[in-house]
Assembly symmetry: none
Amino acid sequence: MSQSARTFNPGKMQYRFLGRTGLKVSALSFGSWVTVGGQVGQDTSKKCMLEAWNNGVNYFDTAEVYASGECEKVFGQALKELNFKRSDIVVSTKLFWGGPGPNDTGLSKKHLFEGMRASLKRLDLEYVDIVMAHRPDALTPMEEIVRAFTEIVQSGQALYWGTSEWKAHDIERAHHMAAVHHLIPPMCDQPQYNAFWRDRVEDELRPVLRNYGYGLTIWSPLDNGVLTGKYNDGIPQGSRLTGADAADSDKQNMINFGKALSTEAGQAKIAKVRKLTDMAKDLGCSTAQLALAWCLSNEQVSTVITGASRPEQVTENMKALDIYDIMKKDPSIKEKMDKILDNTPEAEELFGRWA
Amino acid sequence: MSQSARTFNPGKMQYRFLGRTGLKVSALSFGSWVTVGGQVGQDTSKKCMLEAWNNGVNYFDTAEVYASGECEKVFGQALKELNFKRSDIVVSTKLFWGGPGPNDTGLSKKHLFEGMRASLKRLDLEYVDIVMAHRPDALTPMEEIVRAFTEIVQSGQALYWGTSEWKAHDIERAHHMAAVHHLIPPMCDQPQYNAFWRDRVEDELRPVLRNYGYGLTIWSPLDNGVLTGKYNDGIPQGSRLTGADAADSDKQNMINFGKALSTEAGQAKIAKVRKLTDMAKDLGCSTAQLALAWCLSNEQVSTVITGASRPEQVTENMKALDIYDIMKKDPSIKEKMDKILDNTPEAEELFGRWA
Amino acid sequence: MSQSARTFNPGKMQYRFLGRTGLKVSALSFGSWVTVGGQVGQDTSKKCMLEAWNNGVNYFDTAEVYASGECEKVFGQALKELNFKRSDIVVSTKLFWGGPGPNDTGLSKKHLFEGMRASLKRLDLEYVDIVMAHRPDALTPMEEIVRAFTEIVQSGQALYWGTSEWKAHDIERAHHMAAVHHLIPPMCDQPQYNAFWRDRVEDELRPVLRNYGYGLTIWSPLDNGVLTGKYNDGIPQGSRLTGADAADSDKQNMINFGKALSTEAGQAKIAKVRKLTDMAKDLGCSTAQLALAWCLSNEQVSTVITGASRPEQVTENMKALDIYDIMKKDPSIKEKMDKILDNTPEAEELFGRWA
Amino acid sequence: MSQSARTFNPGKMQYRFLGRTGLKVSALSFGSWVTVGGQVGQDTSKKCMLEAWNNGVNYFDTAEVYASGECEKVFGQALKELNFKRSDIVVSTKLFWGGPGPNDTGLSKKHLFEGMRASLKRLDLEYVDIVMAHRPDALTPMEEIVRAFTEIVQSGQALYWGTSEWKAHDIERAHHMAAVHHLIPPMCDQPQYNAFWRDRVEDELRPVLRNYGYGLTIWSPLDNGVLTGKYNDGIPQGSRLTGADAADSDKQNMINFGKALSTEAGQAKIAKVRKLTDMAKDLGCSTAQLALAWCLSNEQVSTVITGASRPEQVTENMKALDIYDIMKKDPSIKEKMDKILDNTPEAEELFGRWA
């Protein structure tokens, strides 16, 4: 590695504001979940991250729980070795599950105080751009949670704070406590969002998107791979969706997900993916690219977090931006997709209205 | 009617606080929906209300939309003729649908200001005890809504204000706006709640029940009559659940409800009611009394609103208090019911914890 | 009665500020408890009130519960017939016990709203100067209580609000809620206070006397008559302290009080009174006058409420002001009394310090 | 000591939230008062702390005043040598008496600022989890006190702050000042609590337990040893409860306590302990274990602080958890104990109600 930081090259990348904030994130971004520090080795991780960077990705996401902290270590080491200029990247991590002790889990002041320090140490960073509450914690008062994140931000360990998989009610309450106690409110959520998982973003969160310009950094845009079309003809042996029940909860979730695909509802889903695959062929792209472009077409999404276990996957993912450009010019494509999906939430008509 | 106000006789009635307020309401109360001013004549309405009063009922509920305002007129006239002492009764009405004009619907300052006056005029009362927002209104800013209700309370037209069928997020936001702008927050919700409609009360609203001690005045405790057991052998011809499609939305809702009973899910529901009917026989009570007692056994319910088209129905309903007393002493009854119902929501364990 | 209002003649009366307020009340005042509307007839009540007025008394106290509302009627009628100039008198009433119904008792918004109106109607006044919460109500949230009194004050039905027999914690919380919600805090308490009942005023309430300049309008300065010396030789037959147990709680309290006098502790009390009686003789006054002067000598007391069943008693009571003047000039008198009483509370040394 | 931190083993321990906070503390905890740094040597202290840890204790309490600061030194050295993982332990200290100088005592900003630094230095810790005001200080304004603790928390020297032996009024005022000035309120109190000292916890503090979910870390659960039964047959010569009057206030307090045991009231206490000893025998446990289990059975107690001068005492104390489990299943045990004790405070019925 050279000693001077890498030059930033946006390429075709688009940048979007993270919700109401002034922070700009690449529309496609790089997530380390289930790959970095876990099933993917350090060298490959680094190559994937470099490929993302070369395509203009500036936002890199991780969490203290990923690979039990190992992910943050590899991820931080890669950032350092790749020598990205610090101000050119946006790094987020997420706190909630930090270990087995009674005070290692949840959003108590104690865990947030200690978890943030431990996370920065593993990442070998002075600060992250965004720290998120990885889940809501109904057993810790919201005032304590908001106060702890405020202290993290005020101490310079994070620039912004956000949430992940919180309900509208949780986010409203966080803003309520912040307003009443003169604290710093959260700015964005990291929800699951894809063509088959729409309600949280398109219904539940609508009031807070409107009221607070809440940002969205969405995960699982390909629905655990279903939207790549790779299960159109069944789940291959040895896939992460198969295998014996596992103690690891991430692994077990994947296996359960695989089982669900063989039910009637699962098969109906696959039938829809086949139709999307036909559309993708007509557009000259992959099913995955079409599915990512569908996510990008929701302009309330700040960034679509993509994962990869090979650099070539990153290259392929990035082409979704071209498809998104085509979809913007021809609205009938999204309309046709939504007709195939047949799952648009019936949401209250409230945009263009105030809080 | 004599010139001195009627003496209040609590009988066996239990009184509960309306959530966190200092107001006490009878555990069973009288609602005028679909009866008073509509399908039930003035004399019968009055007899029903007197029978309720004689059983210790102190809470009487109505709404501007019921029978297009006619309900409030008959209801208010009955209160006057029955000569109940004003401080001995708790009267609530609900505002949202006040007419066909562009400003007759919703929770704008204009409709709340004008609707409240019109309602009091129809009721011929100086003030109601509780005025409720009959539904949420996502098209009017919450600050305007809370401000309008605050002004109603401060002007002495209502003592408290509440909501009906609001989500946790709406209620949290109302409290947020009240705190920030130093206004008066809502104190209770009027949700549908019965053995077949549990999620709103037992899951969705749990955070606000905990955070705000939100009161609950629940409607449809018998699930449109299904929980009386009267449809155990099919819907009789001429029931309000049968007939040709109607323009009146309340009527159409009933007809749709009737149609739903013949689906597979509807039949599964009836099968459960049959088992409850067997339980009721063993306890020597009616299915309706058992179903009302089930509602009473949720101690977060401030009052169970019951309707009646005949005074004898009121008398019968009140006996649910005896069954409730039996259920308190023998917890296995509720356990058995919940096993039959098989629909207990999986809610976060947060009670005993603070917000 | 003449049509022009009576001229005010302060005589020897002293006026003190009601705590931190700008309101001035006579150091000795007239209370209607257990006399007006009850055991003392209307004419005598009026004569007593006139005698008080003629001695410079400007503060007259009543409560909704006294003689079940009858007291307020007689009291208000007397004020009207005596034709005192409204701005020359300070009238207080107290709300808490308004009747037998579930919402007739306590400090709910409903009872305060309805109770204040009913009280003003009985008094036939447009407003009182001070309305007090006759007791604390731990079952109604303090926010609701403070909000209700604020609305009473803002509507012009009372000029100030206060409390009676509240603990320091209750008063602190009322001020806390008032500050947070921008409401009007209470200004004074009406505690029992006399030479044998000192802890509430001289210990418990010290922090709020200091922090809020809380006013004190004290009742029972003669400890139910014990400090007149009239029980120095036993309780006479037919006294209100004797008799069979009674349903009326005020009466029963008196009987219990009488019983307590015959215990060892009661006899020790009487022994102390005998010594005070000796002191009074030396000073050329009655034991009662000495005991009232002792109350007046606590300059945190805004006013000493005295009762009377005959106008001559009023005349006698007023002479306590002369004794108080003597005591101010010769501090050894109070020192000698406190030595006899031997019950000065060990209170924290906090006066002259801030909150 | 090995270089990697000790692994945490919860064993049978129960963890409870510290009141409303998200912090979890072991139901039984370890206190250093009158032992560590004082009458008990460093080695034994360390062995006691290790034995506590091995039983799942995660909460360790000390104070700047204990053994004039020597306690914190030995305590901190022991924590370091025992190599407990920092995030696995909860450490509290208490500030009030820091030395003989005019600014060494009390809760002035100056003493809190300087005392906190000195305490951390003695403990050789970067931060404590909880810092407490060891007593109320009526001579320093509450705003100054709350502001000083807020600055301690915001600077990362403590995660939470609490109080010790404060009255309800003091705690209410601290929350009042925190709300008005947007500061951080205290979260818990450390009161004395045991079968003979109940009023503070079961009466005085009830409103703040309810209003603020105030946590309780209770001290002296065995009433200076009386509840071990060791004085059932008199105080042995050489006990810390005997001896000539001493200049050291802790020692003098013990001697006074010993003297009190020989009064009539003291003997009545011992008579009750003898009955508890009989109950303990029937349950197959020690009197001390029964008395600790009695404290645990009050679920508003966050943790029962136990002291020990020998590791075997720690082992014995921990068995109280088994007795507590038995008491939970058989409520008649606690009922029988309360009947023997005959000192249940008559407290207002306010739980289940809000503030």
